[in-house]
């Protein structure tokens, strides 16, 4: 569904040259909840920006479905971002003078949908994130966790194929973080959305089924954290614990 084919990305040149990605190849199947981890400067956010075609690779190609992204016209890229990709950021990026409901419905209004269907879609996602009762509140009247749930509703309202989340719990306490991660998990399980998330927090990463670790723009670990894989490893741990 998302494919990186030998992708390199260089920012700047000469003394200020930074190699953000060095020949990255990665395939993320549809509906997978995949987490990217790694130290600061390892290229994590660049991966998200490339999938959203907010930037183009220096070398290699990125595919969303069958479509190569680097040759895509700006207009088509903007359309793809609006219809096929939902974004969730650390600092929510909600519009402060609009209510929760207006923030969520904005992508649909930009797409020129009828007001009946805008209302219906907005209610559907606000119900999903359990915030229908707070629909008229402005961001300043909501808690951090609630603001992020509004942001997830906004990301889901266009029924995207992919959600790109950049440190979505970076600004939240652990209870709010769990609620956000459960919503992302459900988006993948129940709505079939592919989730690609960057995080520093291993507890958040444990909600996904795969953890890719980047270092210096390359994959250093690709870990399957699903049930089967986890049983094998726990046997190993239990065995070692009895020894100790």
């Amino acid at each position: 569904m998302i494919r990186f084919d030998n992708v390199s990305k260089v920012f700047g040149e000469g003394q200020t040259r930074v190699d953000a990605l060095r020949g990255l190849s990665l395939q993320i199947p549809a509906r997978q909840f995949c987490t990217i981890m790694g130290p600061s400067g390892s290229g994590k956010s660049t991966v998200l920006h490339l999938v959203a075609r907010l930037t183009k690779p220096t070398e290699g190609e990125i595919y969303l479905g069958d479509r190569p992204l680097s040759g895509m016209a700006e207009r088509d890229a903007a359309m793809m971002r609006r219809r096929e990709i939902g974004f969730v950021f650390q600092f929510f990026h909600l519009i402060p003078y609009l209510s929760a409901e207006e923030n969520v419905s904005l992508p649909l209004l930009l797409d020129g949908l009828s007001s009946a269907s805008v209302r219906q879609q907005t209610e559907r996602v606000l119900t999903l994130v359990d915030l229908l009762h707070r629909r008229r509140h402005k961001p300043s009247e909501l808690s951090g966790g609630e603001m992020q749930r509004v942001a997830i509703a906004r990301a889901l309202v266009t029924s995207p194929r992919v959600i790109l989340a950049d440190e979505p719990t970076g600004n939240l306490d652990s209870t709010a973080s769990h609620a956000i991660m459960r919503l992302l998990r459900r988006s993948s399980d129940e709505l079939g959305v592919t989730v690609l998330m960057v995080t520093h927090d291993p507890v958040c990463a444990s909600y996904g089924e795969r953890v890719v670790r980047l270092m210096d723009g390359q994959v250093v670990e690709d870990i399957d954290v699903t049930e089967g894989a986890s049983e094998e490893v726990s046997k190993h741990v239990a065995h070692r614990r009895q020894d100790g």
Binding site: R185, V203, E221
Partner: protein, 196 residues
């Protein structure tokens, strides 16, 4: 889990069954409560029960079953109840431990020439912790969705979360320092990674 803690865990499980408990029941109960954190095999279970009996903390009786072999049933004694109460009220003395497996010892003895292998060890250790965390997360989600009041189990899961998170942060640090030492031995790269 230290031997005396296993002993008190079993004593506690026996104490809430005044009608008595047999080994299999105790094993099932222990696994349900602690299975995600500690493994207890039957050998350890029966050795611990024998020790409790010899110390007079539990009393063991043979229960005859029709058509099946008789089985041992354990009940807590007055002395056992007293000992359990004392232990419950005693402040924990366990010192904070680093990774409770062999990695820290290996780090001591792996020589400088084997840093790449050490790095591989650190990475496989991280995968183990991430798997463990994924299982805990799944359990917590199931618990939350079941709506049951599992106050202590929930607290134990949170404690495990915090420990694994701390161990993972330490592994990140070990990896970073190992890499710095490896880099230090190599010729400098033409394009050293920079923070963005």
């Amino acid at each position: 889990m230290a031997t005396d803690v296993v002993q008190y865990a079993l004593l506690g499980l026996i104490s809430v069954r005044p009608e008595g408990a047999h080994g299999y029941q105790l094993k099932v109960k222990f696994d349900a409560l602690y299975g995600d954190f500690w493994s207890l095999n039957y050998g350890q279970l029966y050795r611990t029960l024998d020790r409790l009996e010899r110390a007079g903390l539990v009393q063991c009786t043979e229960e005859v079953q029709s058509g099946r072999p008789s089985r041992k049933v354990y009940r807590i004694t007055a002395s056992g109840q007293h000992s359990l109460d004392d232990w419950l009220l005693l402040p924990p003395t366990d010192e904070p431990r680093p990774l409770r497996d062999d990695l820290s010892v290996k780090l001591l003895f792996l020589t400088e020439a084997r840093r790449e292998e050490t790095l591989a060890l650190v990475r496989s250790q991280r995968a183990i912790y991430l798997h463990h965390l994924a299982r805990l997360t799944k359990r917590r989600t199931v618990l939350e969705e079941s709506g049951q009041d599992m106050f202590v189990t929930r607290l134990l899961l949170l404690q495990a979360d915090m420990r694994v998170r701390a161990d993972l942060a330490w592994l990140d640090l070990v990896e970073k320092e190992l890499l710095q030492r490896i880099e230090g031995k190599k010729a400098p790269r033409p394009t050293p990674p920079k923070h963005r």
